[in-house]
């Protein structure tokens, strides 16, 4: 074969192949996206649309009757209990967020900046996840014998002479609910913040120090702005988890406090599906608005 014969053949071949590739390219992205689209369609869009549709149906003690009525929404939004329950849920979310954020930030900060070697960072990080090896219900229930009227803590306090009668607010109260939330969800704050902190270029901190910034200034003006995406992701986790929770509130308040999730669970258990669906739609809209608001403050995509 001569050397001159080769280039044209190669070019045509490449051109021809290019044509096929270009044509294939047009379908390929769709094919590549198809599995995800299908999954989301079947497992996310269809169920949500179903919930929205059912929320307009009518029901009686046993049956769900296809219809188009607004009574579910009227009864929901017209009831003072709904508003009280939503406010209470928001309060839990706010309290849980306000505590998990500083705790999570502190833990992540310690791991990222005070622990020197990567090995120890990973070891300590894994230690943080150890509680997640058991079910969160078990982790929650373990608080009950600890905080109870005759529980370990009250016994200890009485034996030490700190108090003379058991502290009743410790269990089956808002205190115990928020405590359980903090215990369960702090890790969801630690992980994204830790991740964001690990991505910070250490040279920036050196530069800040060289420019004369003290530790506090570095924290406030360098580290905090750069970990904002992590904080935003952690906050979304914590807030959405608390907003949708029902079992923590039920167990830790001894069934005495209400949350939206609990309200929905009660409605489902009584076969009042349309009412539960309407409630779920309202909750979904509210949580979406909260997430959008958080994303407004921090543009996660830009900063990732």
């Amino acid at each position: 074969m001569s050397a001159t014969a080769l280039p044209p053949t190669g070019t045509t071949a490449r051109a021809a192949r290019g044509g096929v590739r270009r044509r294939r390219l047009r379908i390929a992205p769709y094919l590549q996206a198809a599995p995800l689209v299908l999954t989301l369609l079947v497992f996310l869009v269809v169920p949500i649309v179903t919930i929205a549709v059912v929320s307009f149906w009518d029901y009686d003690a046993v049956r769900v009757i296809p219809d188009f009525v607004l009574t579910n929404y009227e009864e929901l939004l017209g009831s003072a209990v709904t508003w009280k329950t939503y406010l209470n849920t928001l309060r839990y979310a706010a309290l849980a967020w306000a505590i998990t954020l500083p705790v999570g930030f502190a833990v992540a900060y310690f791991l990222a900046f005070h622990v020197r070697t990567v090995t120890w960072q990973m070891v300590l990080f894994l230690v943080c996840t150890v509680p997640f090896w058991t079910s969160n219900i078990i982790r929650m229930i373990s608080w009950i014998p600890f905080l109870g009227r005759n529980g370990l803590l009250n016994r200890a306090l009485i034996d030490l002479g700190v108090v003379d009668h058991p502290l009743e607010f410790l269990l089956f109260s808002d205190f115990s609910v928020v405590l359980a939330f903090v215990h369960l969800y702090t890790l969801f704050m630690v992980v994204p913040i830790f991740n964001a902190m690990m991505r910070i270029d250490r040279a920036l901190i050196e530069a800040a120090r060289d420019a004369g910034a003290n530790g506090q200034q570095i924290l406030w003006n360098v580290i905090l702005p750069l970990t904002k995406p992590g904080i935003a992701i952690g906050s979304i986790f914590v807030v959405t988890l608390v907003m949708g929770d029902f079992i923590t509130v039920r167990l830790m308040s001894g069934g005495q406090s209400a949350s939206v999730g609990l309200m929905i669970a009660n409605e489902i258990s009584l076969l009042h599906y349309p009412a539960a669906a309407a409630n779920a739609v309202v909750l979904l809209v509210l949580v979406m608005m909260m997430v959008v608001a958080m994303l407004r403050i921090v543009d996660i995509r830009k900063e990732l």
Binding site: V81, I144, N150, L171, R250, E267
Partner: protein
């Protein structure tokens, strides 16, 4: 074999798994195919599997084992809480063959056409079933209690009918399995005074130490017993309240809650046991076996009879609509076995009551029968069906004999016409 294990463990285990799956699939196909053919039943009954679901109280593995032994077929049990039972019964009627449900739930479920009534002529011991479930009267003189009395939902007009019959007919909806009379449980060592009335539940003396169960349709009944005892509310029928009666009842509860009367509300059996055993609560709505469970921990607990009477409940077995052919025959066989004594004795020994007392008596010792059914002091230690000591010799059952307890039922668990309104109000109480 050994060689192949040494060679590739994962391949072998995968192959084993495939083999297992294939066998399971084969079995499934086999059992499914049976219904399609007219078969000689004695030969094929061993292949029948009946799937039963219900609340934990009567879904006992010991029963399934005994069924296998006595009847030869397999009974698969699934235990759920009472809310989940209702849901499953209505929304997944193909997922079970036998539903073990409560009578008040039956009132909700039967009109949904998921169960078929049973032909009483095929039920051997039908004539011996305790009359509460047939005529509604324990003895000819007794009055019928309020609420969803079992006999009122026990019969339907015909084989395909959904309307409950006023009189016994040939078609029975549920065959009673267990029932009991509920009252308040107390910690006699901690209450500090005799408890005699339902109204003691919201006596300020027990502030922060009381509990009520948070299953709306049952909790509202306990609440009604309390309000009636206090004289706060007069009811036409506690089992079917008017909106006004519901409002008043919920108000009494809400006021008590706001004053800090309740320590917690419970929803499951275990929760009620823990609340009582840990001393968080000294007086609360309770179920009989929960009292036994607290006592089993060595903690004093009494199922206190009260002057206003008991709130009763009952459960029974219903047949799924889709059952036919051999499986239907097996289901009838199972029900006849259930009423034939062994199961009844087993349930009686747990502190419940069984549907046919005559047959159960034959499977219990005289001492056991005396203790559980006649209110006599135990001669020897009373053992649970598993052989654990439940009561020491000399003990007397709280509340006394069967007649004394079931004869003093004030109200049955019920589902009301104003169910939807009641649930909304109950949720307001919980959120208050």
């Amino acid at each position: 074999m050994t060689k192949s294990i040494a060679g590739s463990t994962s391949a072998l285990s995968r192959r084993q798994m495939l083999k297992g799956t294939a066998a399971a699939a084969g079995a499934a196909i086999g059992s499914g195919a049976i219904t399609g053919f007219p078969t000689i039943w004695a030969q094929n009954i061993k292949n029948v599997t009946l799937r039963q679901f219900g609340t934990g109280v009567s879904n006992l593995n010991a029963l399934a084992e005994k069924v296998k032994e006595d009847l030869g077929f397999t009974l698969q049990m699934t235990s759920l809480d009472s809310d989940a039972v209702t849901q499953r019964a209505v929304t997944q009627p193909k997922s079970y063959d036998i539903a073990d449900i409560e009578y008040w739930i039956c009132k909700k479920i039967f009109p949904a056409s998921v169960l078929q009534p049973m032909d009483v002529t095929k039920i051997k011991y039908f004539d011996k079933i305790v009359p509460i479930f047939v005529s509604g009267k324990l003895t000819p003189e007794s009055t019928i209690a309020q609420g969803t009395a079992p006999h009122s939902v026990s019969f339907v007009e015909g084989k395909d009918s959904k309307t409950f019959a006023k009189q016994p007919t040939q078609w029975m909806t549920l065959i009673p399995t267990i029932y009991n009379a509920d009252t308040l449980g107390i910690r006699p060592d901690l209450v500090g005074r005799p408890i005699t009335s339902w109204k003691d539940l919201i006596d300020p003396a027990f502030k922060g130490k009381a509990s009520i169960l948070n299953i709306p349709s049952i909790g509202i009944m306990d609440a009604a017993m309390v309000c009636e005892a206090m004289g706060e509310v007069k009811y036409g029928d506690k089992g079917n309240m008017t909106k006004e009666e519901i409002d008043k009842t919920i108000k009494v509860l809400t006021d008590a809650k706001k004053a800090g009367q309740f320590r917690a509300f419970w929803k499951t059996f275990d929760e009620s046991v823990n609340l009582m055993a840990s001393g968080e609560v000294v007086i609360q709505s309770m179920w009989s076996p929960a009292v036994a469970a607290v006592r089993a921990k060595g903690i004093a607990c009494k199922y206190q009879p009260l002057k206003e009477g008991y709130r009763a409940w009952g459960g029974g077995l219903g047949l799924a609509k889709h059952l036919s052919g051999l499986e239907l025959d097996a289901a009838y066989e199972y029900i006849n076995w259930y009423l034939s004594g062994w199961a009844g004795a087993y349930l009686n020994r747990q502190g419940y009551y069984s549907a046919v007392l005559d047959t159960a008596k034959q499977h219990m010792s005289e001492d056991e029968w005396g203790f559980w059914m006649e209110g006599k002091p135990a001669q020897k230690d009373i053992l649970s069906p598993e052989g654990k000591v439940m009561e020491k010799a000399g003990a007397v059952r709280d509340g006394g004999s069967f007649q004394e307890r079931m004869g003093r039922v004030a109200c049955w668990n019920a589902v009301m016409d104003e169910d939807r309104y009641m649930v909304r109000k109950w949720n307001e109480f919980i959120a208050a």
